[in-house]
Structures are given as structure tokens and as C-alpha cells.
Symmetry: C2
Subunit: 103 residues, 2 copies
DNA sequence: TGTTCATATGATTATATGTTCATATGTTAT
DNA sequence: ATAACATATGAACATATAATCATATGAACA
């Protein structure tokens, strides 16, 4: 019996391109830090920027990427917009990566 | 009781940089295709190149990246060098990503 | 309506990254 | 030793991407 991946067929090349795009999103430390930061509680853009000590604009640009990839949830309340992690998938992917790094 | 990540403390910023680097490796379609290709059986460099219809040099460069990140195993047999996926972690990370993409 | 505050966006620049071509290294066999 | 083959590597180029600055959009409230 061979070791097998859970995917029984080799994924389509298009799927693999999509998959690469997804991992690209995780492959930037600013975005990762944002994701980890909002994983416990939702936060406003400015709050995230302050927490990470980065420009509001930088955070906003990266939140856009996260939004486009459906990795975050958005909620408006008055002038503020609150971001939180979208689902547990996102968390699991980060945890998986941590597992690999930490041996 | 709050939703919590498995990590109890927010990971160090350095760890997150490392983590980003790891995901960067997964964030390239050529490398992903290589990983999927050698996930079932080990393959020689030329074999991988032929399978993916890409230059030997390209494959070799990317295998180097995979090697450096300990994502592949290497075995020499005569003139050929055979590559295979390193461990199940690698597979799981790919599967996680697929899960997210495929809803 | 006009002002203030929070967020988003466009353009620009600097940097990082993937591929290609040419060539080097290393192995096997004659 | 030399030829033939498999793999690795260096340099150069093209492209992608993140951060910054300046500005626009949109909400709240006087």
C-alpha cells in the first residue's frame, strides 16, 4: 500500500495555480501578522496599524488582499471598520505552518 | 469562552517572519506542481522536468529551494538524483489549502 | 453644508523572485 | 583519460509585489 495524499487524483493545473495564489497571501509577514492580530478579537484598521506599528495605508492595502481572498470578515460600525479572521480554515493553515517550523 | 487559536500566545514576530518564508515556498505554482508530482513516487530531476514540460534548469533551481526548506528528500542512485516529498506535514499543508479553495 | 475622522485607493519606487541561457560539477562506462 | 549523461549553479533579465506618499471616499455630527 502506497502512501497517498488525500486528493486521489492529481489536482488540475489550474487548481494548483489557485492554490499557489492562496499560499502567496500567507507568504507575507505583514499579512500574517495582521491575521494573527485579529485572530482573537476583531479590530479596526487603525487599531491594527497601531498594534503593528505600521502605516494605516499599508494595513489597508494588505487588508484588501485578505478580503479579496476571503480570509477576513468585515463589519462596519459608524466610522470604523472592524476586521476579523474569516473561518477556522485560516487558523488551521497558520497552525500547520507553525507545526512545521517548530519541528 | 473565546474562540482561540491553538497557539496560546501570539507567536513571536521572528517566528512569523519564518512562517511567511515557509508559505512563500508554497506560493509558487512550479514548486507546488513539483511537490504534487513527487508526492506519490520519487522522481529524477529530468523526469520531473519532462512531466511538467519545463526546463531542467528551472526544476533544479526550484528543487534547491525545496531542499533548503526541508520539504523534499533526496536520494542519489548512479547519475540520477531522486526527489520525494519529505514528510506528511508537507502534504497536509497542501491539503489544507485545497480544502480552502474547494470551499 | 462644512468639518472631522476613519478607511480606501492610485501612482511611484525599491526590492524580491522566477526563468532562461550558458556553463560547471559530478557520475558512469569505455 | 575521455566521452556521455544528469544535475547544479551563476549571471542577466523581466516581472511581481510591498511600502510610501498623496489624495479620495464615505460616515458622523455640529
Amino acid at each position: 500500500m502506497e502512501k497517498k495524499l488525500n486528493y486521489n487524483e492529481i489536482p488540475d493545473i489550474e487548481v494548483l495555480f489557485e492554490l499557489a495564489d492562496l499560499f502567496k497571501v500567507f507568504g507575507d509577514s505583514t499579512r500574517l501578522r495582521i491575521m494573527v492580530t485579529i485572530s482573537e478579537n476583531e479590530m479596526s484598521v487603525l487599531n491594527i496599524a497601531e498594534t503593528l506599528n505600521m502605516e494605516q495605508s499599508t494595513i489597508s492595502h494588505q487588508l484588501r488582499v485578505l478580503r479579496q481572498n476571503k480570509l477576513v470578515r468585515v463589519r462596519r460600525e459608524g466610522k470604523q471598520i472592524y476586521y476579523s479572521l474569516d473561518d477556522d480554515h485560516v487558523k488551521k493553515i497558520i497552525e500547520m505552518g507553525l507545526d512545521h517550523i517548530l519541528e
